[in-house]
Every structure is written in C-alpha cells, then in structure tokens.
C-alpha cells in the first residue's frame, strides 16, 4: 500500500515530491504510494542532482530506500 524513503542532504531541507513542496524534511522517513516519484529539495539550488526519479519497491518504514543529494 505504501513505500518508504529517506532523503539525505548535508543540511536540513523541506522535500519536494512530484514538483510539490511538502512539510516532509530530509532525514525523516517519508511515506509514498507505490510507483515512480520525482524527488527534489526546497530552498537554495546548491544540490546535485537537481531532482531524482525513484521507484521504491519492497521497502518498509524500518528499511526505507535512501535518496541522496550532495552539495553542488
């Protein structure tokens, strides 16, 4: 019914999911419906890549997929 991810970045940021800014933040377990999603970060555009397409599968809240952004 749901998949789970954690977005990693060196700073605390709000997470943008499928082009929409959300109250979810980096370093939190995020609940998503199954399927492909586009993940990015809010705020300063000092991260790379600018967005990531992910299709998490078989995750759980204890074993979420990690989506990592680095300082650009």
């Amino acid at each position: 019914m749901f998949e789970y991810i954690v977005v990693e970045f060196v700073e605390k940021r709000e997470v943008v999911i499928d082009d929409i800014g959300t109250p979810y933040e980096t370093d939190q377990v995020i609940e998503l419906e199954p399927g492909t999603h586009t993940i990015s970060l809010a705020g300063k555009k000092n991260f790379s890549p600018t967005e990531r397409d992910i299709t998490p599968s078989g995750t759980s809240s204890l074993q979420p997929d990690k989506v990592t952004f680095t300082l650009a």
């Binding site: 019914m1 499928d18 109250p23 370093d27 419906e33 199954p34 399927g35 492909t36």
Partner: protein, 465 residues
C-alpha cells in the same frame, strides 16, 4: 378558423417560452492559474488548523442520508473541545459527500450554521419528489422538455437552485472560506470514475468552476439513473499554461502493469479529458453513488496521491479523524421464501444495488486499512527504537517517521443501533426525497446518538477535550 388562431397563438407563446429554456453550460477558462478557484488551500496556510484534522464522508440515500448527515453535524456542533473554546464542528476540514449527503454538505458550505435554523424547512421536511412531479406535469414545462437542450434533470436543478441554494455559485463557496472544503461527488458515465466538483477537475475540462451554480453540482451528484437524466458539461479547449500534474504523468508512464495500477487508472480516467479532447467534447455525469456511495474514495485518493491535500499534510497532523455517515439500509428480504425465481423488477433492482453495496463496504475497509497501516508504520519505528534503547548499548538512532498521528475512523451505520425494532425501522426506511417529519426527526436524532455511542468517538474526545 377564428378558433384556431388563439390556439396557435397559445402554442406559439409556449414555443417561445420553451426557447427560454436554458442549457447551463460550464464557462471556459482560457488561462490556467495554479491558485485560482475552488481548490484546497496550500498546506502552509492551514498548519495550525490541521493538527486535529477531521474529514467527514456523507453517503447517498436521499433525504434519509441528508437527515442522518444533519444529525452528525448537529452533534459535532454540540461537542465542545479544547476547554470549551471551540466545537468539534469547527474542526471539520473537509466534507466529501454523495447524492443525498451532498444537499447537507453544500448547504453547510454555503450558509454555515444557518444550516441548523433553516435546512429542515428548506429541504429535509419538504416533499421534493412531489414538487418535481408537479413541475414535470406543468404544461409550460412540456414544451421546454421538448427542447433537446432541456431535460428532466434541468427541472430539478431549477428547483434546487431557486428554493434550496438561493442561486449560489462556487464563487460563493470560495467566499465562504473553504473551511470546511466541500467535495461534491458524481460519477462520470464514460469512465465510471468518481468526478469531484473542484477546480482541479475543471482544469482538465479547460473550464471555470467558479460561475457554476452549486445546485447543478448537487443535482449531478444525486441524478439517480432512469428517474433523472444525466447532467452534461462541456469539455473546453485546454487553458493556456495547463499541464498534467507530475504524479499523474508518472502514473500514466508506469502503466497498468506497473507498480501502481490504481494510480494509473486514476490518471488515465482524468487525463483523457485533457489529452484527447476531440474524442471527449462533453462529459456526462450521474449519481455519485454509482462510483462510491459513501464518499470515502475522495479521501482515499487525497491521502494516497502525492498531490493530494491529505498526503501533503501528513507531517502536520496529530489527530486524523474520519467520520462516515453511512445511511445504507437493509430492508427485510423475502426472495428466499419463494420457489420461483425473482421477477424482472426485483432482478433489475438487485443488479443495480448489489455491486454498489459491496463496493461501498470494501471502500470503507480500504480507507480503514490504509490509515491504520500508515499510523502503524510510524509507530513501528518508535517501538523498535525503544527496544534498541532497552537492550543495546550502541546508542543507535533510527530515522523517525515524518508523520506521527493517531487515527480514528468512525462509521455510523444503522446496524449499530441496539434496539432491534428501531434498528429494523431505520434499516427499512426508503430512499426518497420525501420523508415524514417524524422520520426526518428520528434520523437526525440517530445521527447524534450513533456518534455519541461510538467508543472511538469517546476516546477521541478524551484526548482533545
């Protein structure tokens, strides 16, 4: 010959009058504006209000459903919370409604607490069926009904518009503050999917919902098959600047065989009105009960989809409450007493209601399962962390969930009534827009009583009172 002239004159006058019959079309919206119209407010504007998030689902079932819904709203108004500083009714954030329930939700959305002083006489106590029949038999309307642009449902729309909703439009709902957000649900006859009267749905039609009479949406939501004709809308050219949302595009790209067939079908059934306008120049809507007679699917979709207003609020919600006013009946059945098979009418009735009832039941279970899985997923991390803290000296910290809420789902159903006679009386009440005053009053009382008797409701009150 002289006698014929007045007759012809009268007929001509009637034909001219029939020319006045109007076919209300939805206005075009030449340019898309992301924040325009009747859409849910951005989450940043409602952070404080969303801590206790209350969603209501009001089912179909004619006046029976409208009265039960009224009783629930009345009970919420009589339920003080936060040290009596407000009531639970003020905490209601969204009302998703179908058919009969849509009369109550739309009236409350437009007129607020005027509902409790005027709605009984404006709607619940009225013989709407009788009034519609009289309109149908009025000779002036015969000629209007001969026009291809005027149908039986248009008579109903006129009646609701003039005598219930005071010619209010969706702009009036916007002006009323969108708290709660009113989601009136109908069924798209082509796709079989739920159609919800919101600007995002009208964006796909290149149309402006703001000028649409609320009565037309309610009539679409309650246009019972055969008795009433479908309500038609125009699919206008695409608004400049509009494009499908990213989650819709992902849903389509993943395909039916992909990781989420539900999202694919949701995306497909809506997107065709934007991507293939030539094949779908119109959309025809009927009773919302055909696709979801409870109104919970709108809540399920907005909890699941990443563009959904509930999905976007998950991290800010502390108490997530869904109250379902389900006016489903279960009249005594005698089919099994006869050796001969049921007659054609019985078979027709069963054919239209059995699948709807089964789907409604499963929709409620899907909602309950989904919310409890979400709640448990967050709790699981905290429980594991507690075990780590107790038995391991490593100091390992798990990543906690971005959402942490307590879920309460309450289904108000006549089956929950203890008194066997009262239960059977309510389970046998007809689906009609004409009930007696005692029937309406009993339904209103039952709405409040069922809520009051719910253990989950009392537990919720202990936490938020």
């Amino acid at each position: 010959m002289m006698k014929k002239i007045p007759v012809i004159g009268v007929l001509l006058c009637l034909l001219i009058l029939s020319g006045c019959a109007h076919y209300l079309v939805n206005d075009p919206k030449p340019e898309y504006q992301a924040d325009y119209g009747y859409r849910y407010l951005p989450w940043k504007q409602t952070v404080k209000e969303d801590e206790v998030y209350v969603a209501l689902a009001l089912s179909g079932g004619g006046t029976r459903a409208a009265a039960l819904s009224y009783g629930v709203l009345q009970k919420l108004k009589a339920t003080p919370i936060r040290d009596d500083s407000t009531t639970l009714l003020d905490e209601v954030d969204v009302i998703s409604s179908v058919s009969g329930g849509s009369f109550t939700s739309a009236y409350y959305g437009l007129f607020g607490e005027q509902l409790f002083s005027d709605f009984k006489t404006d709607f619940l106590y009225r013989d709407i069926e009788g009034e519609l029949t009289r309109k149908l038999y009025a000779p002036t309307n015969w000629f209007r009904l001969m026009s291809p642009d005027f149908n039986r449902i248009d008579l109903a729309i006129e009646l609701y518009d003039e005598t219930v909703f005071q010619r209010k439009t969706y702009q009036d709902l916007i002006d009323a503050g969108r708290k709660p957000f009113i989601a009136i649900n109908a069924t798209n006859l082509t796709t079989g999917a739920q159609f919800t009267f919101t600007q995002p749905a009208f964006d796909l039609l290149g149309s402006d919902l703001s000028s649409l009479p609320v009565a037309r949406a309610v009539a679409s939501s309650s246009a019972f098959p055969i008795l009433l004709s479908p309500v038609s809308y125009q699919n206008h050219p695409a608004s400049a600047g509009f494009e499908l949302s990213r989650d819709m595009r992902h849903g389509l790209a993943n395909g039916y065989d992909g990781p989420n067939a539900r999202r694919y079908l949701w995306a497909y059934n809506q997107s065709i009105y934007h991507t293939d306008k030539a094949a779908h120049p119109y959309v025809h809507l009927m009773d919302g009960g055909l696709s979801d007679n409870i109104g919970v699917r709108y809540i399920v979709d907005n909890f699941s989809r990443t563009s959904g207003f509930l999905s976007l609020r998950k991290p800010k919600i502390k108490e997530l409450v869904v109250i379902i006013a389900n006016a489903k009946t279960l009249p005594p059945e005698s089919l099994d007493e006869n050796e001969s098979p049921p007659n054609l009418l019985d078979v027709l009735y069963k054919t239209t209601t059995i699948s709807m009832d089964n789907y409604s039941f499963e929709s409620i279970q899907v909602l309950k399962d989904m919310l409890h899985i979400s709640e448990s997923a967050a709790k699981l991390i905290l429980r594991c962390q507690a075990i780590i803290d107790q038995y391991c000296s490593s100091g390992h910290q798990l990543t906690i969930s971005g959402h942490q809420y307590k879920v309460t789902v309450i289904e108000l159903n006549f089956l929950n009534i203890d008194d066997p006679e009262k239960r059977q009386r309510l389970l046998s009440m007809p689906t009609s827009f004409k009930l007696s005053r005692p029937q309406v009053d009993e339904l209103i009382n039952v709405g409040g009583e069922l809520l009051d008797e719910s253990a989950a409701f009392q537990e919720l009150l202990k936490r938020i009172r």
